[in-house]
C-alpha cells in the first residue's frame, strides 16, 4: 500500500496518530520538501472525491483529515523554517459564518483545507455582518467570500450579503460561495440566497474557490 492509500485508510479509521506515524516514516525516507505536493494534496483530493461520490465519509473522518492537514503544515513550518509553507499562490479569500450563525466546525475545516490548497484565508469567525464581509474582502483584495450557515433561518441572512455586494457595485468581481448542512437538504437554496456557487463538502471548497476566482477575473469592476 502506498503512502496515500495508507493515509486514506488511517483517516477512514479516524486514526490521527496512525496518520502522523505514516507521515513521519515517509518524511524520514523522502524528506519534507515534497510532502505537500506528493502526499497531502493528492490524499485530500481523493478524500474529496470519495466524500462526493460514495456518501459514506463522516464528519469525524473529515475532521481527522483537517487535523492531519494542520499537523502536516505545522511539521513543514517547523522543519523548513527558511521556506514559506503557505505559499498563498492562490490569493486572499474571506470566510465566516453569516449573521446569527454560530456553527463553526464546518467553516474551520474549510479554512484548513483552503490554506492547504494555497489560499491566504482571512477567517472572520461566527455571526459576521454582511458589510463586515465586504469591507474585509476589499481591504485584503479578496475575490471570493465563503459563507457558512447551518440552518435555513441563518442561511437566509446570506441574502443580505448578496445585496451588499450588489449595492456596492461589486457583482461578479466579488464572488459569493456558500456552504453548510442546510444547502444539502434544500436544493436550490444556494440560488435563492444569491450565491455564485456552493460545494457539497469542506474538501470541495478549494475547487469551488478556484473556479469562482477565475470567474471574478472575467469581470471588470471599478469599486
Amino acid at each position: 500500500m502506498n503512502i496515500q492509500e495508507s493515509l486514506l485508510e488511517a483517516i477512514r479509521q479516524a486514526d490521527r496518530a496512525g496518520a502522523s506515524a505514516l507521515l513521519d516514516r515517509w518524511a524520514a525516507k523522502h524528506g519534507t520538501e515534497r510532502m505537500l505536493t506528493d502526499v497531502l494534496d493528492p490524499m485530500l483530493s481523493r478524500i474529496g472525491d470519495e466524500w462526493n461520490t460514495s456518501g459514506t465519509f463522516t464528519l469525524a473522518q473529515a475532521y481527522v483529515a483537517a487535523k492531519v492537514a494542520e499537523d502536516t503544515m505545522a511539521r513543514l513550518a517547523t522543519q523548513n523554517k527558511d521556506v514559506p509553507v503557505i505559499t498563498g499562490t492562490k490569493g486572499p479569500v474571506v470566510i465566516g459564518n453569516i449573521e446569527d450563525d454560530f456553527h463553526a466546525l464546518g467553516r474551520k475545516m474549510v479554512g484548513t483545507f483552503l490554506r492547504t490548497d494555497g489560499w491566504i484565508v482571512h477567517d472572520l469567525g461566527n455571526d459576521v455582518l454582511a458589510a463586515t464581509f465586504v469591507d474585509k474582502a476589499l481591504e485584503v483584495g479578496a475575490r471570493v467570500i465563503g459563507v457558512s450557515a447551518m440552518m435555513l433561518t441563518t442561511a437566509r441572512n446570506i441574502r443580505r450579503l448578496r445585496d451588499e455586494i450588489d449595492r456596492r457595485g461589486l457583482t461578479g468581481h466579488l464572488q459569493l460561495a456558500v456552504g453548510g448542512a442546510v444547502f444539502k437538504v434544500c436544493p436550490g437554496l444556494d440560488k435563492e440566497v444569491g450565491a455564485d456557487g456552493t460545494s457539497g463538502n469542506a474538501l470541495s471548497a478549494a475547487g469551488l474557490f478556484t473556479e469562482l476566482w477565475q470567474n471574478s477575473k472575467k469581470v471588470k469592476v471599478i469599486p
Binding site: R12, M151, T153
Partner: protein
C-alpha cells in the same frame, strides 16, 4: 380513536383507525400566538399556549415539548444567542476544556430554572390535553449534550482523540440525563424524541458508534421510565441502524427521507415504529400539493407496514412554512386508506 389512543396503539402494534401524523411544531406555536421567542423558550405558560394553538389549528396526533437543546447548554453556563424566528443557539459554550469538567458542578434538573422550564412546559401541556393527544419531550442523549455545553468541535476532538476523557464526561452526564429525562416522563411526556448525532453515519464512524455511542446509550436508556424515539438529526441513519437496533426502551426510529424504509424495517424488525416525512427545511419552499404528493408517496410505500407514522424530518418546522402545507401533511395522513388497521 383519539390521538393518544392512536399513537399508543401504533407503538404497541394494535390496530388503528388511521395513520398517526406528527409534524414537529415546537417553534410554530410561537408564530401562532405571536409570542416573542425569548418569552416562548423561557416561560412554560407561553410555550403551552403556543402548543394549544398548534393543537387547535392543525390537530396533530403529537404535540412536542420545547425543541430547545441550547437551553440545556445554558444551564451549564453556555451563552445563548436569540433570534426572532428560530430557537436560541449557543453563542459561547459554558465549558471550554475537558479539564473544566472535573471541577464542574452539574445543574440540578429539579431546581435549575432553564431545566425546570422544560419540565413545566411538558407538565402544562399534559394537564391541558391529558388523554387527548400524545406529548413528546425532546431531549438529546448524553453522547450529544456536550456539543451544547463545550461546543461541537471541542467535543468532536475529545471523542476522536481522548476517548477516556469522553467517557469521564459521560460518567457525569448519564445520571444528569436520566434524572432530567425521567422528570419529563413524570411531568407527562408520552415519549422522548431523541436526536442522536454521535451515532449518526453522517457524523461519526461505525467504530465510534459501536464502541462509544452504543454502550453509553445502552446504559442511559435502560434507566429511563418511558419509551424513546431515536431521531436521525437531519441526515440519513440507515447505515448505522443495525448498531442502534435493540437499544433499551427504544420504541421507534425517526428516519431521514433519503433512507430506504423497506431496508430499515428489515434491520429493526417488526416491533419498532418507523416515522418518516418530508424534511422540515424544505417545507417553506413547497406547495401544499407537493407536500401532499410527497406524503402520499411515503404512505403508499409503507402501505402494509402497520407500524409506520407520518412526521416531518430534520429540525423543527420553520417559521415561514405556510400553514396550508402543514394542513396538507395532516390531511394526507387522515385521508390515506392504507392497511393501518
Amino acid at each position: 380513536m383519539n390521538s393518544i389512543e392512536r399513537i399508543l396503539a401504533t407503538l404497541t402494534g394494535e390496530p388503528v383507525d388511521r395513520r398517526t401524523v406528527a409534524p414537529v411544531l415546537s417553534l410554530y406555536g410561537a408564530r401562532l400566538t405571536s409570542c416573542p421567542l425569548q418569552t416562548y423558550y423561557s416561560d412554560p405558560a407561553a410555550y403551552a399556549r403556543g402548543q394549544a394553538a398548534v393543537l387547535m389549528t392543525f390537530q396533530p396526533d403529537v404535540l412536542f415539548g420545547p425543541f430547545d437543546f441550547p437551553g440545556v447548554g445554558a444551564a451549564f453556563g453556555s451563552e445563548l444567542h436569540w433570534m426572532p424566528e428560530y430557537a436560541p443557539n449557543i453563542r459561547r459554550p459554558g465549558i471550554a476544556t475537558l479539564a473544566d469538567w472535573d471541577k464542574f458542578v452539574l445543574p440540578d434538573p429539579e431546581t435549575h430554572p432553564r431545566l425546570l422550564y422544560l419540565r413545566e412546559a411538558i407538565q402544562r401541556m399534559a394537564e391541558e390535553h391529558r388523554g387527548q393527544v400524545a406529548i413528546a419531550a425532546c431531549m438529546m442523549p448524553p453522547i450529544d449534550l456536550p456539543a451544547m455545553i463545550m461546543g461541537m468541535d471541542t467535543w468532536m476532538e475529545t471523542v476522536l482523540f481522548d476517548r477516556d476523557g469522553a467517557n469521564r464526561v459521560m460518567e457525569k452526564l448519564i445520571p444528569f440525563f436520566v434524572k432530567l429525562t425521567n422528570g419529563l416522563f413524570a411531568a407527562g411526556a408520552t415519549f422522548i424524541a431523541m436526536p442522536c448525532g454521535f451515532t449518526s453515519p453522517a457524523i461519526v464512524t461505525r467504530e465510534i458508534t459501536q464502541n462509544f455511542g452504543r454502550p453509553i446509550l445502552d446504559r442511559a436508556l435502560a434507566q429511563l421510565r418511558g419509551p424513546v424515539l431515536v431521531h436521525h438529526i437531519g441526515a440519513p441513519m440507515l447505515a448505522h441502524l443495525d448498531l442502534l437496533t435493540g437499544l433499551p426502551n427504544v420504541a421507534g426510529f425517526v428516519m431521514d427521507e433519503r433512507d430506504d424504509l423497506a431496508q430499515s424495517r428489515q434491520i429493526v424488525g417488526p416491533g419498532p415504529v418507523l416515522f418518516n416525512g418530508p424534511m422540515s427545511p424544505r417545507l417553506p419552499g413547497l406547495t401544499a400539493d407537493q407536500v401532499a404528493q410527497e406524503c402520499r408517496t411515503m404512505l403508499e410505500n409503507r402501505r402494509n407496514d402497520t407500524r409506520f407514522a407520518l412526521c416531518t424530518g430534520g429540525p423543527d418546522v420553520p417559521w415561514h412554512t405556510p400553514p396550508e402545507n402543514i394542513h396538507a401533511l395532516r390531511k394526507t395522513a387522515v385521508d390515506f386508506r392504507g392497511n393501518a388497521a
